[in-house]
């Protein structure tokens, strides 16, 4: 076993590159290309600010993904706690010195780039918990101490992010964390109990929500109660998607979008624009592309020998899935509006950075799938 370990360490760069998961890689690149075209459409068929920036970020972050993949999965395992801690520190820093914008304080200026640490936490929490469960004996999974520890690991960043305030991201962080608990073997009844508790305490939680958040929930329940105000986004989004029809209005011909009826079309509502222009066919195609990516990540997890890699891949696959589901449900009017980007497609550097880091670690797991981690 030891020998095997060493063997893996001595894998050459050429072999590493050969061992990359090309289906995943091609899917990600394909998605990136699509995202550039969609961004071009949001700019009204012109290469403007958003298209340029999105393209530049892809040019930087795609090689970064490969670069991360070239490190042994063991390396990432070792760094997991540290990364988690650093991101926590960034969150603390942001909560004191962060840049304020439209009522929330989520960002920090790192000269060439405005970073949103909460996005990085989406990856960091998976790494941290994957490492914790990798090391935790199966007998101790349901012990009081371990449950307390993992809940703290989840709660600390969640609370920081909620207080920014950023409900959407905090929910995604919490869900990403909880899925590792689930995979790690925490008793199903705990999940059921806490779900019931959550439902019962929902009215109390709602009473703690900020007025605008309450409004969003009310609007979700009945978008027509204020069609020009709070309900406007969701109504316009549904009109755009619905009017796309079977084969869409055609590239650059999404009237809802280019006549500015669609809000936030670069970020949270990017799918709406895509769906308006490419229709049902295009939307299902995009979902299939995402499904391939998720499936490949799960597949890489299942062929990985180490539980850290397994947990990370499964957890990350679920996270990607949840991002997509939350975003699509939102634009399709199935969930209240919570700010949540669509991976790769949405404009936003931090989200893309986090996603690419995730893919990088998954690819690293693939290259080193035989790697055992003590």
């Amino acid at each position: 076993m030891f020998q095997h370990d060493r063997l893996n360490n001595e894998i050459t760069l050429f072999q590493k590159i050969k061992n990359l998961d090309y289906i995943l890689l091609i899917s990600v690149i394909l998605l990136s290309v699509i995202s550039v075209f969609v961004m071009y459409s949001t700019d009204g068929g012109d290469i403007l600010f958003h298209t340029k920036n999105h393209f530049v970020k892809l040019i930087i972050f795609l090689p970064l993904m490969i670069f991360i993949a070239l490190f042994n999965i063991k390396f990432w395992h070792n760094l997991s706690y540290l990364i988690y801690l650093v991101v926590i520190l960034l969150l603390v820093w942001v909560s004191f010195f962060g840049i304020k914008s439209s009522g929330s304080q989520r960002w920090m200026d790192v000269y060439f780039f405005v970073l949103q640490p909460s996005e990085l936490m989406k990856i960091a929490i998976i790494m941290c918990l994957a490492k914790y469960y990798h090391r935790l004996k199966i007998e101790n999974v349901n012990s009081f101490t371990s449950i307390t520890i993992v809940l703290s690991i989840i709660l600390i960043p969640t609370i920081f992010v909620i207080s920014q305030p950023d409900l959407g991201t905090s929910i995604l962080i919490a869900l990403s964390g909880l899925i590792i608990l689930w995979l790690g073997g925490v008793k199903i009844k705990y999940f059921i109990y806490s779900f019931i508790t959550f439902l019962i305490s929902l009215p109390f939680i709602i009473s703690f929500l900020k007025p605008y958040q309450k409004l969003r929930i009310l609007t979700f329940l009945d978008p027509d109660r204020d069609p020009l105000g709070a309900g406007y986004q969701i109504i316009q989004s549904k009109i755009a998607i619905g009017s796309g029809g079977f084969d869409g209005k055609g590239f650059l011909k999404g009237t809802q979008s280019y006549l500015d009826f669609l809000p936030e079309k670069h970020t949270d509502f990017i799918f709406t624009l895509f769906s308006e222009e490419f229709g049902f066919i295009g939307s299902v195609g995009l979902l299939i592309l995402y499904s391939i990516i998720i499936f490949r990540i799960i597949r890489i997890g299942s062929i990985s020998r180490s539980n850290f890699a397994k947990l990370f891949c499964f957890g990350y696959a679920f996270a990607i899935f949840i991002y997509i589901v939350v975003n699509l449900s939102m634009v399709l009017g199935l969930l209240p509006i919570v700010g949540s980007p669509l991976p790769i497609m949405s404009y936003g550097g931090s989200s893309m950075l986090a996603t690419m880091i995730g893919f990088g670690i998954v690819l690293s797991a693939k290259i080193n799938n035989k790697q055992m981690i003590a």
């Binding site: 995979l183 009109i239 998607i241 029809g245 009237t255 006549l259 009826f261 499964f314």
Partner: protein, 640 residues
């Protein structure tokens, strides 16, 4: 190994649990696909409509009104290109500078500038402000010359109503102007087609026929963005011009009427005695309806409003006059029909008649001596008709008079302002004044004075129905969908039946009991104009082609006092307001009559001096145009 065992067990747990959520993921994705399907495939139509509703805005343009033409097809209410000046605030670089420039170029008032500024603050920046609705050609040229310096200014050519014959048709056509709120709300069609700047009929046929004349809006479809700004034009849907309406009127005769009544207050109506077509209908003085199109100025309005000759009143339909002696043919006819008198019946006129201590004067102080019906009509002997009326009684007279159209609206459905006048009887007085009828009132009714009130058009119709042999006609001013030729109308009348174009059935419209009686009246009217001592003998035409028969009338405006009777003042010596109205009714040519007319000159003095000479002038023209009119085919018929 233990470690490794537990490791394997842990892996199993992870894989098993992965499998569970894997299955859940498929379900969730399927749900999302289902939602996409329902939005994009099932409800596609609904959302496509909503999306179009979002992006497409329609701009209605004012509809083009239908033309109104005279019997010969001459346009009497048409449309004219006008030049307007619009400002599009969004395109203006310096609004104040622009206003200063425009103020100089067009001599705009300060009030106008304030209004433009107010409009600017109310409208969206891409909505145009109308600075001037009607630029003169020289102003339009000037603006176009300086256009390089007037950024944001748009000279626009549009269409406006125009009345080429100015005041000749005002009382018939009315005019158009901007509608007020109530007028928009009251008419469904106007409400649907209303666009700022649109004008609607305010009076006359323009108002009555609004729904036919209005036309449909041209529609411009634009794609707009979320803020309502026009992005590009999608389509231009042409509007349809309103229906063309052809009137029975003859512009030449109408113009002649206007000239003949120049500077007088009065009215002339001319009617086809068989078809009921109104050939001319003029009320004097008139005013230019074009003044109202772009808002009449206060000065001009005051000038029209304060004119003592009352141009705003359509005297033909709303003017109520005592018919005076023009009623005598009806009195005589009624008496003949009721066998109260015959042609041999004579009355001795001594210049006055005493009844229960009251004196009733004849216009001729010395009296006419023994007069028969024919002579009484010819010389308009009042005493004769006092006696006839006394014998006949007002109730029998009323029946005949109403048969011939007095006391009833003539064109009721077309003009709101038409009055129905009054022909009294005993019952009417009892009901309305609460007192019993007095015999003296019968006497003065017999010479067309007292309660009796009639419109000039009623007198014209009355005369027409005597002229055509005593058959009812239905006067009309619009050439309708079933025009009846004069021959058909005449033939059906003489067979005792009248073709009614509205009910499309033959109706008995005989107004007499004995045709002979009508003949007697016609002959009496002939002698009044064409025999010596006839009241309108001086206005006769001997040429049988133009020869006409008529009856003069002089309607007192106030009671003549004994003193005034003794003074016997000349017309010029009496104050204008107190002068008698001059009336004349006539028909011609005497052989094969075709047209009847009524003329009234307010405060003109006597009918023989002021009104009958007008008939002489007019009959020449009317009969000269007779063939032209007959040749005019019934083109373009419309249904009203």
């Amino acid at each position: 190994m233990i470690k490794s065992n537990s490791g394997i067990r842990k892996t199993d747990v992870i894989n098993r649990r992965m499998f569970i959520i894997g299955a859940a993921k498929i379900v969730v994705f399927a749900a999302i696909v289902a939602r996409l399907f329902s939005l994009q495939i099932n409800e596609n139509k609904k959302y496509l409509t909503l999306s179009d509703k979002n992006r497409i805005r329609e701009w209605k343009l004012p509809p083009t009104r239908g033309n109104i033409v005279d019997y010969f097809g001459n346009v009497i209410a048409g449309n004219l290109k006008v030049y307007q000046l619009h400002i599009i605030p969004e395109q203006v670089e310096n609004f104040n500078y622009l206003l200063v420039r425009l103020k100089k170029l067009l001599n705009l008032s300060d009030k106008k500038i304030t209004r433009i500024n107010k409009l600017k603050s109310e409208l969206k920046p891409w909505d145009s402000i109308i600075v001037s609705e009607n630029l003169s050609w020289s102003q339009f040229v000037k603006i176009n010359n300086y256009l390089y310096d007037l950024v944001g200014v748009k000279p626009v050519m549009t269409i406006s109503r125009n009345y080429p014959f100015k005041d000749v048709y005002t009382h018939v056509l009315g005019y158009v102007s901007q509608p007020n709120e109530q007028e928009i709300l009251d008419n469904q069609i106007i409400q649907e087609r209303f666009v700022p700047g649109m004008k609607i009929g305010k009076l006359g046929l323009e108002k009555r026929l609004e729904n036919y004349l209005i036309g449909t809006n041209a529609i411009q479809r634009y794609e707009v963005n979320a803020y309502g700004k026009r992005i590009n034009q999608l389509e231009h849907q042409k509007g349809e011009q309103g229906s063309k309406i052809r009137l029975t009127l003859d512009t030449e005769i109408q113009k002649a009427c206007a000239e003949l009544l120049n500077e007088k207050a009065g009215s002339i109506s001319v009617m086809d005695i068989y078809t009921g077509d109104i050939i001319a209908m003029y009320s004097s003085p008139s005013y230019d309806p074009n003044l109202f199109l772009f808002g009449i100025s206060q000065d001009e309005w005051q000038l029209i409003r304060n004119n003592p000759l009352k141009p705003l009143i359509n005297k033909t339909l709303s003017g109520l006059y005592s018919p005076g002696s023009t009623i005598k043919p009806i009195v005589a006819l009624s008496a003949l029909e009721n066998n109260v008198i015959d042609t041999k019946f004579k009355v001795k006129c001594t210049g006055k008649m005493e009844l229960y201590g009251q004196t009733f004067h004849c216009w001729k102080e010395k009296g006419h001596g023994w007069v028969s019906l024919k002579n009484a009509m010819k010389q308009s002997c009042d005493t004769y008709f006092y006696e006839v009326a006394r014998l006949l009684g007002v109730d029998r007279l009323n029946i005949t008079a109403e048969k011939f159209g007095l006391g009833k609206k003539v064109l009721g459905q077309y003009f709101d302002n038409e009055k129905k006048g009054l022909f009294p009887n005993t019952k009417w007085k009892k009901n309305n004044l609460g007192r019993g009828w007095v015999l003296g009132e019968t006497l003065i009714t017999g010479i067309g004075q007292g309660y009796i009130q009639s419109t000039p058009l009623q007198l014209c119709m009355m005369t027409a129905q005597i002229a055509n042999g005593g058959y009812a006609i239905k006067p009309k001013i619009i050439v309708d969908s079933n025009p009846v030729s004069y021959e058909d109308a005449k033939q059906s009348m003489e067979s005792g039946l009248l073709f009614d174009s509205n009910s499309e059935s033959l109706l008995d419209k005989k107004l007499f009991k004995d045709k002979k009686n009508i003949k007697i009246i016609q002959e009496a009217m002939f002698s009044s104009t064409n025999e010596r001592f006839g009241t309108s003998y001086k206005s006769r035409i001997d040429d049988p082609k133009y020869q006409f028969a008529g009856k003069t009338g002089t309607a007192q405006v106030k009671r003549i006092s004994k003193r005034e009777r003794e003074l016997d003042l000349e017309l010029e010596q009496i104050p204008y307001k107190d002068r008698d109205h001059a009336l004349y009714v006539a028909y011609g040519p005497y052989i094969n009559p075709r047209y009847a007319l009524s003329i009234i000159v307010e405060h003109g003095g006597s009918g023989s001096k002021a009104a009958a000479p007008i008939a002489k002038e007019l009959f020449k023209l009317i009969i000269d145009r007779h063939n032209l009119r007959d040749q005019q085919s019934n083109f373009e018929r419309i249904t009203i």
